[in-house]
């Protein structure tokens, strides 16, 4: 596919912030559910929604570079 040059990109900092926030939400919700402050299913619901956000934003934050010309795995 052709890359759209004018695409707005999520910066690494934004991705890092999103990963951090969703991680905190996940940990808080599961801890609260574990200690019985909120219902188990409510905690699970929050984790189920926040965990995918955490995974995706973490992986987006991990990416090597936002610039072109860096293909670390081309060739073997």
């Amino acid at each position: 596919m052709i890359r759209k040059e004018t695409e707005k990109k999520i910066s690494k900092d934004q991705a890092k912030a999103a990963a951090l926030i969703s991680a905190i939400i996940c940990i808080t919700a599961s801890a609260l559910a574990f200690t019985g402050h909120i219902n188990g299913w409510l905690g699970a619901g929050i984790v189920v929604v926040a965990f995918p956000v955490f995974v995706l934003s973490l992986f987006t934050a991990l990416r090597e570079s936002t610039k072109d010309g860096d293909y670390p795995f081309v060739g073997y």
Binding site: V55, F59, R63, E64
Partner: protein, 285 residues
């Protein structure tokens, strides 16, 4: 229960299972095969790569489908460990089908489209699924996983007493394992099928979701048909189940799309005959 820890643990184990699966297949085919942590490397590799959305894609759908995959299986994991309703887990199995369609359709790529079309075709596998759920309800009188586990403690394990239902469930899970003979949606002639255009962080996210899926499906089978057991036993039993599937995957060619559907319909007929038989024989032996 620390739901988050369970999810992370399940992701790690699921990725490891995928790696073991590949290794076993390779050894059966007398290839050296990748190391068993290969799938971790895959996830890392994909997350280090550049990520963007294809210009032709339906953007919201393209992105939203990836968290949907992870979310539904994380929810299924929670339901499994709290002994909730079996119907929810297999609802999730069918919702996974929708995400498969969405993955393929969203990009506009012809390969993805072909994968999605095959995914719609292979939705016939939900018919043996429903037959086996109805069969389990027929035998145990409940669909709550905790009740089914309690039933097995009293009446012996279902793997022996209700073998055809277990067989149907086995085919269902087999059709979702990588390299399966029923895995028509990711056959090599259509590149990676519906995953073709999801690269970079999206693909890494998908791998995480699929790892969860493998873990949940194997654990569901073990819990349903063998019963309650300590956690480490559950892991070992899942691994053994996976190894039997690895043998099948290594030794069978991929079926042509419609033949896969026909075989799955054949399985449902076996289950229906079995259920009619026990209905006429007056309950369980």
């Amino acid at each position: 229960m620390m739901i988050l820890l369970y999810i992370i643990f399940a992701v790690i184990v699921g990725l490891l299972f995928h790696g073991i699966h590949r290794k076993v297949i390779a050894r059966i085919q007398t290839r050296p095969g990748p190391p068993i942590w290969q799938e971790f490397l895959h996830v890392m590799k994909f997350s280090f790569k550049q990520t963007w959305i294809p210009k032709t894609a339906s953007k919201v759908l393209f992105v939203a489908i990836v968290p949907a995959v992870i979310a539904i299986w994380a929810g299924a994991l929670y339901v499994l460990f709290t002994g909730g309703s079996l119907l929810v887990i297999f609802g999730v199995y069918l919702l996974h089908k929708i995400t498969e369609h969405g993955l393929g359709l969203s990009s506009g790529s012809p390969y993805g489209k072909l994968g999605a079309i095959r995914s719609v075709l292979s939705a016939a596998s939900e018919i043996p699924l429903i037959a086996s759920i109805a069969g389990i309800y027929f035998v145990t009188g409940s669909l709550m996983i905790s009740d089914i586990v309690a039933y097995q403690a009293d009446h012996g394990i279902l793997l022996i007493t209700a073998l055809p239902i277990a067989l149907a469930m086995y085919v269902i899970i087999l059709s979702k394992v990588p390299y399966s003979p029923f895995g028509i949606i990711e056959a090599k002639e259509i590149v990676s099928g519906n995953k073709t255009e999801h690269f970079g962080a999206f693909r890494a996210g998908l791998e995480v979701g699929f790892a969860l899926k493998t873990f949940v499906l194997l654990a569901v089978f073990v819990t349903l048909f063998i019963g309650a057991m300590p956690f480490w036993m559950l892991l070992i039993a899942s691994l053994i189940l996976l190894l039997t599937m690895s043998f099948i995957c290594a030794l069978t060619p991929m079926l042509s799309p419609y033949d896969a559907v026909t075989i799955q319909i054949g399985v449902i007929i076996i289950v229906i005959i079995y259920m009619a038989f026990i209905a006429f024989a007056g309950g369980m032996p």
